[in-house]
């Protein structure tokens, strides 16, 4: 489920997009569990936030027409700088600052060669699998409520 149709992204940008989306969807406990497992905890300094603000959510008139402002949603973002010099950014709906700060650290670790595989296997892949499983379950329950029409033959001549 992606919205951007205009400019196709380069493969490395697409990878970053996927990582950012999964870090945004990761639950606080998923991130803290991965943090516990991390063999060497990096030092990080806050550059911005974590801070909570608003994003104005836009819709389109008629579903596909001109944009309009639907309403706002809370969003929390953070930027951190690892002692290695890599900056990490994270942004997620909601107001959980601790979660987003951790997500920003993992964003930085994902960009570093030594830790990218760890972030993939301990966070991105499991979160992706969880979301797919939740979506599948929800889709199956929804599909059970689909109407199967049938025609009744009335009268016999």
């Amino acid at each position: 489920m992606t919205n951007s149709s205009s400019n196709p992204l380069a493969p490395e940008q697409e990878a970053r997009r996927r990582a950012a989306a999964l870090l945004a969807r990761a639950r606080a406990d998923e991130l803290s569990t991965a943090w516990e497992k991390l063999p060497i905890k990096p030092e990080s300094n806050p550059v911005r936030g974590p801070e909570t603000g608003l994003v104005m959510v836009r819709g389109r008139i008629g579903g596909g027409g001109a944009p309009f402002n639907l309403g706002e949603a809370t969003v929390t973002r953070a930027t951190v700088l690892l002692s290695s010099g890599t900056a990490g950014h994270a942004q997620s709906l909601g107001t959980d600052k601790a979660k987003v700060r951790l997500a920003a650290i993992f964003d930085a670790l994902w960009q570093e060669e030594q830790t990218a595989a760890f972030v993939e296997s301990e966070i991105l892949a499991p979160v992706e699998a969880r979301i797919q499983e939740e979506d599948r379950q929800q889709a199956e329950k929804t599909a059970a409520t689909r109407v199967d029409f049938f025609t009744m033959v009335r009268g016999d001549d």
Partner: protein
């Protein structure tokens, strides 16, 4: 001379402490948790998010609890909270064609790609109170079925291929949509601003106006082309990353109302459309919004404006329940001085009238004496 009257501070403090006491209620009962409100009173939470115009289930649940279930008070609380936060940016417009569908029905097409999917609906229930809910009885897992492959096409896209329905409005070049929260309202306004106002408008008010169009006050022959409920991705441009990334998903309800239209000097006979889009699961609101959106397009489509639902200034100025409750409820605040002034004025007018009457009667008396 103006004399300020002070006092009431102790009474106000005591009233607020009594409010906290009543809010908690019987202490022998367990206190409600936020999670319980989000999970079990989810449609109340959704209404608060929609009309506060702020998507955050946890904060909306807190507002519902704090307001003792008074939803307009909860909406007020959440609106007030919103003003304390900075805005980081605007999202890429959400794509409702790309939705994790939880419900999707059409009253115009029986067989359509994706099918008629009822989802968790009150429709077709018998509206009988269920004694089973008096107790905490275990609830069965819902049944499951293999989902249909492929996307669930929007009904407006299906109809559009025949050319008998108006297309989505064309995109103006790089013109940002208006924002009610940033600029004061001016009439007439564009459809973008109207939809923003309707999306945060009071459900009851929009329901009544939508109903009035059905009863003949600005009739527009509506059919539910489609209602869909589900989660969509919210994406925002992040300058540090350089492109739009997902922030997560939100649930929305979308209603495409399709309206018969016999044509006018401005448009040929065709089906026109009204649009409803609301945060959370809120079908009644989305339907009402689409009816009112269509009614408010009267001028654009060259229809006579004869009914309240077609009157943009009337509808938009009165749709916001936070504004409405503020102005109605301020009447209960002390107006002692205003009232004393009015009282003095009425006394004087009464005295003047009595004096004139006395004068007249004495003149009449004098005339009679002269006869």
């Amino acid at each position: 001379m103006y004399v300020a009257v002070k006092g009431g501070e102790a009474a106000i403090n005591a009233a607020h402490s009594l409010l906290a006491d009543r809010r908690r209620g019987d202490r022998s009962l367990p206190s409600l948790t936020m999670e319980q409100i989000v999970e079990q009173l989810s449609l109340a939470v959704d209404r608060v998010m929609a009309e506060a115009s702020l998507y955050d289930r946890a904060l909306a649940a807190l507002a519902v609890r704090q307001s003792r279930g008074d939803l307009i008070e909860a909406i007020f609380l959440l609106r007030a909270y919103r003003t304390t936060l900075p805005r980081f940016g605007t999202s890429v417009p959400i794509d409702t064609a790309n939705m994790q569908i939880e419900r999707r029905i059409s009253a115009t097409y029986k067989d359509l790609p994706g099918g008629q999917v009822l989802g968790p609906t009150f429709d077709y229930t018998h509206r009988l109170l269920d004694p089973a809910l008096l107790h905490d009885e275990a609830v069965e897992e819902p049944s499951r079925k293999e989902p249909l492959p492929g996307a669930t096409t929007r009904v407006s896209d299906i109809l559009a291929t025949e050319g008998l329905i108006e297309a989505d409005s064309v995109l103006p070049q790089d013109e940002p949509p208006g924002d009610l929260t940033r600029e004061p309202m001016e009439f007439p306004m564009g459809r973008d601003l109207r939809l923003q106002a309707l999306a945060r408008g009071d459900e009851g008010f929009l329901l009544a106006l939508g109903y009035s169009t059905q009863r003949g006050y600005g009739r527009n022959h509506p059919f539910v082309g489609e209602i869909r409920i589900g989660e969509v991705e919210v994406e925002m441009e992040v300058p540090e990353i350089g492109f739009a990334v997902s922030l997560g998903r939100i649930q929305v309800t979308e209603c495409q109302m399709v309206n018969q239209f016999k044509g006018s000097s401005k448009a040929p006979p065709q089906f026109t459309r009204g649009y409803g889009l609301v945060f959370g699961q809120s079908e009644r609101k989305a339907m009402s919004m689409s009816l009112v959106d269509r009614a408010l397009r009267a001028e654009e489509l060259g229809e006579d404006i004869t009914a309240p639902a077609q009157d943009e200034e009337f509808v938009i100025s009165h749709a916001d329940n936070v504004q409405a409750t503020g102005f109605v409820e301020h009447l209960k605040l002390p107006h002692y001085v205003d009232f004393q002034a009015e009282l003095a004025l009425v006394r004087r007018m009464r005295a003047d009238i009595e004096a004139t009457q006395e004068e007249n009667s004495s003149v009449e008396g004098a005339t009679e004496n002269r006869r």
